[in-house]
């Protein structure tokens, strides 16, 4: 069984995790539809080291993993707060 290291819970079977796709910068609230469509629907599909959202399902804990898509090796996992330090508010 492949093992992933959850930043909250420690090493766990990979079957406990769900991949949430690439970590990308969110477009500005007023950005063009094409930019939002790209952000929501399109993947870069990089061959190499990527940064991805992963979730530990038993705790619903979302974090970030760096993974080499060529070898499927997980290089590093860390809390999302390392990247997203500030709260993003939208005008209502």
């Amino acid at each position: 069984m492949k093992i992933m290291n959850c930043p909250l819970n420690g090493p766990r079977n990979i079957s406990e995790f769900v991949c949430g796709g690439e970590v990308e910068a969110m477009p500005a609230p007023g950005a063009a539809d094409a930019a939002w469509a790209d952000y929501v629907f399109l993947e870069n599909n990089t061959a190499g080291v990527v940064r991805e959202w992963w979730m530990h399902a038993p705790t619903s804990y979302w974090f970030i993993a760096e993974r080499d898509t060529r070898s499927d090796e997980i290089l590093r996992t860390y809390p999302a707060s390392e990247v997203f330090a500030e709260r993003q508010d939208f005008a209502t």
Partner: protein
């Protein structure tokens, strides 16, 4: 209040299974708990491999920003590290599941009803955190005895052996392919693990554990036998 119909006691999610296993029930507060089972001496099973259903007993949880600080202000002792539980003065157990989430299990003895006090104290108006009603949403089993860790090895990927998983350690993981919380909480010298999972899977888990425990001679044990070890 006049004319108000008395609420029936809170029963376990697996009441019929317990009944079929020969459980005799006893009232504990507003709940009805399997106190003992017909047949052999349960104390022996407790130290070998016993499974108790504690589902009707009080437990609660709080999650979100400020939950830990609020609980501390309510007099609950909570450790620094996540996935670790702390015994309270009256026997309750507070397990920190994440930096912003705590699970509270009432003591199995006759201590203060901490969970009821916390649930009553929480108010939605000023709170940026919210209650997690574990008493409705999660079953609560207690697996005891020297074979407990070996039995768990059949259904759980985390190593729960006593020298690898210390007392009051918490594992949030997959047990029998469903999400569950395991908290080690020894009864004196007897290893014991609280197991909580989705209440909709209570019957499934009860049968999974019974099946996994069969080769070790495991059997259901009642609350009275469990209490005899913590007195």
């Amino acid at each position: 209040m006049d004319g108000q119909v008395a609420r029936p006691p809170r029963r376990s999610f697996i009441y019929r299974e317990l009944e079929a296993a020969g459980a005799r029930f006893v009232a504990v507060g507003d709940a009805e708990v399997a106190a003992h089972y017909a047949g052999d001496d349960e104390t022996q099973a407790l130290s070998s491999l016993g499974i108790a259903d504690l589902s009707p007993l009080p437990r609660t949880g709080f999650k979100g920003d400020g939950a830990v600080d609020w609980l501390a202000a309510q007099g609950i002792a909570i450790g620094e590290a996540s996935n670790h539980a702390v015994r309270q003065a009256d026997g309750a157990l507070a397990a920190k599941l994440a930096p912003g989430e705590v699970l509270v299990l009432d003591g199995l003895g006759e201590g203060e009803a901490i969970c009821a006090r916390l649930d009553a104290a929480w108010t939605p108006v000023a709170s940026a955190f919210w209650p997690v009603p574990r008493r409705d949403g999660a079953f609560w089993f207690l697996v005891t005895g020297e074979h407990a860790a070996t039995m768990f090895a059949k259904v759980c990927g985390v190593d729960l052996r006593p020298d690898k998983f210390s007392n009051h350690a918490v594992a949030q993981t997959s047990v029998a392919r469903t999400n569950a919380i395991v908290v080690r909480d020894d009864l004196g010298a007897v290893p014991a693990f609280h197991l909580l999972g989705d209440s909709a899977s209570a019957r499934y888990m009860w049968h999974c554990l019974a099946d996994a425990a069969r080769e070790f001679g495991g059997r259901p044990v009642g609350l009275e036998a469990v209490r005899s070890l913590i007195r």
